[in-house]
């Protein structure tokens, strides 16, 4: 049968004197005493963060220094606690990346609202927003806890790009096979 009744035995005389339990407990204690510590002296010692950790969301640039975000606002839409606010902007025509057309003018993530769920990273069609390994942050005011665009790029840095989607598009257009 797939169900089994748990065993309950009455206490023996020796057990009723508390002595075996006290000795057993002490044995466990002494065994743990000589073992290495399980704790970590944070913040001097830091835990190792596994790859793919969902820390503070950041914005990243590609290796050529182009900001990846094209302000499509999909992350703003999907964010369950509505922590992201984006004001889209145009890339000026004289910029080398003008063919990308759009970049965020303002990009704020309210870290008091963010729940680190990672949906923004998951839906981002440009791989521009990444939850990286920063896991602790603090501030004195509410305003300080809103990460603006500059802060987000500072936190994010540069990540490798596997596709160089926009460079390929530009190359195709210059070769005359542009269009959609």
């Amino acid at each position: 049968m797939s169900f089994k009744t748990v065993e309950r035995k009455p206490l023996s005389f020796a057990e009723r004197t508390y002595v075996p339990q006290i000795l057993g407990g002490l044995k466990t204690t002494f065994k743990k005493m000589v073992k290495p510590n399980e704790t970590l002296e944070y913040p001097e010692a830091r835990p190792t963060i596994p790859p793919g950790y969902r820390g503070v969301p950041t914005l990243v640039k590609d290796p050529n220094g182009r900001e990846k975000c094209v302000s499509c606002q999909l992350c703003e839409f999907v964010c369950p606690p509505k922590a992201i606010r984006i004001k889209p902007g145009e890339i000026p025509a004289d910029d080398p990346t003008a063919h990308v057309e759009k970049a965020p003018q303002e990009f704020d993530i309210d870290m008091l609202r963010c729940i680190y769920c990672g949906l923004c990273q998951e839906v981002c069609p440009e791989e521009a927003i990444w939850l990286q390994n920063v896991f602790s942050l603090s501030g004195y005011t509410r305003e300080e806890m809103v990460n603006n665009k500059a802060k987000l790029y500072e936190l994010g840095g540069t990540l490798p790009d596997d596709h160089y989607k926009w460079d390929k598009k530009k190359a195709a257009e210059e070769a005359g096979n542009g269009g959609h």
Binding site: K4, T5, P20, T28, K32, Y53, P80, C117, G118, P125
Partner: protein
């Protein structure tokens, strides 16, 4: 005309006291909402006669966030992070149960690999939840060290969760039609390594309590719930089985292929606090057994259902290279996973009991109504009955043995 205020008649009181040996009055005691032994914001309005509880009135709702209403205003996938916060001691089990409910609505069959991942993560969540319950129960009845050792083990599980999902606590791992990301390289080996070292340590931890006279004095024959009452009050999980009722959804209505794993479900005989404790201890051992079997035949394949078009967002490299997939990604995210109209109820055996989701859909990507059956809520309904005529100190013991979590109770 009746007087508005009852002015105490001191003279009469003194006379009455003189005629009796003791003047006794019932005392009203508010236990909680910030009482450490209530495991959250539960308030018990107790009426005491000396040390004996004559009436117990649980007051719920301090942690009410309106999750069910929130669900009506967002797509199915956006609600996954909210399911973390139901039973926040076993978020992986909640994620999986919720996703399975929506998949049942969509009539979607997930691949064997997803099912195996869900079984493994749910059982790991069960172990972590019971370790927490065990540690907290130890503290409730005055055994401190159990908490330290069980938390050390729980920490190891959390490290594994962190590697799998990217977060220790709020995992948000399920997606409708699959899981958020595939199992990392070598992760199953590390889970197996945990399974190897855990049982001896668990035995050591349980040994501190199981035959301990102090612990037994606090739990044996305390808070007895008869099998009939347990069923009548809608208890589920270890609280129901502790009373000797042979009911476990993993056996009765196997989902995620639970029928292919061999495991035994422990049931109690008396229905007291000690039985519930024994059941949890044994359940952890059985969970380890299930995890081992699931990893032994861990199927290869995809971590999402292939036929979940318009439900599961396309992979990132496809989104970056194909215009069609990019549009599909936008459609799924903004409109939500497309569901047919209909009503569905799915329940899963969670660490705390039966977690059920009732979804009414009018089609589209947003539920019209989502009702959550939280096991802790139903388990607490028996409190007035079981606390009756118990001592105040035993109320703490009973609360610990019911092992509830308020996040799920108040939703």
């Amino acid at each position: 005309m009746a007087t508005e205020f009852n002015v105490p008649d001191t003279a009469a009181k003194t006379a009455k006291a003189a005629s009796q040996e003791f003047e006794t009055e019932k005392m009203s005691l508010a236990m909680g909402p910030s009482h450490p032994s209530t495991h959250g914001v539960l308030r018990l309005q107790l009426e005491l006669d000396g040390e004996t509880v004559t009436h117990c009135d649980p007051v719920l709702g301090y942690l009410h966030r309106g999750d069910e209403k929130i669900a009506e205003n967002m797509t199915y996938n956006q609600f996954v992070p909210y399911t973390d916060r139901l039973d926040y001691l076993a978020p992986l089990a909640n994620n999986a149960a919720y996703a399975a409910a929506v998949e049942k609505l969509a009539n979607l069959e997930v691949p064997a690999r997803v099912q195996a991942i869900r079984v493994i993560t749910s059982e790991m969540a069960r172990v972590s939840s019971h370790l927490m319950g065990l540690g907290a129960y130890g503290i409730d009845v005055g055994a401190w060290s159990v908490f330290l050792y069980s938390f050390t083990e729980r920490e190891k599980l959390y490290t594994l969760f962190e590697e799998l999902t990217g977060a220790r606590f709020t995992t948000s791992y399920s997606r409708i039609g699959g899981v958020a990301r595939d199992v990392p390289e070598g992760w199953t080996d590390r889970v197996l390594a945990f399974c190897d070292q855990f049982p001896p340590i668990l035995d050591e931890i349980l040994k501190l309590l199981t035959r301990n006279k102090i612990f037994m004095d606090r739990t044996v024959d305390v808070g007895v719930i008869t099998a009939k009452d347990a069923v009548a009050y809608g208890l589920s999980g270890p609280n129901l089985r502790g009373s000797g009722v042979k009911s476990d959804l993993r056996k009765d209505r196997p989902y995620w292929g639970y029928d292919q794993y061999e495991f035994e479900v422990p049931v109690g005989s008396k229905g007291d606090c000690y039985d519930r404790y024994l059941c949890r201890g044994e359940e952890m051992k059985q969970s380890i057994r299930i995890i081992r079997q699931a990893i032994a035949k861990f199927p290869a394949g995809d971590y999402y259902a292939k036929d979940a078009v318009r439900i599961f967002a396309p992979k990132k490299d496809k989104v970056l290279t194909s215009m069609e997939e990019l549009i599909n990604n936008f459609m799924i995210v903004t409109e939500g996973p497309q569901m047919p109209a209909g009503e569905v109820y799915f329940e899963a055996e969670n660490p705390k009991g039966t977690l059920g989701f009732f979804i009414v859909s009018k089609g589209g990507g947003v539920p019209w109504r989502l009702k959550i059956r939280g096991p802790s809520f139903c388990n607490l309904s028996i409190l007035p009955k079981v606390c009756q005529d118990e001592l105040v100190s035993d109320v703490v013991s009973i609360l610990g043995s019911l092992d509830f979590v308020m996040g799920e109770c108040d939703r």
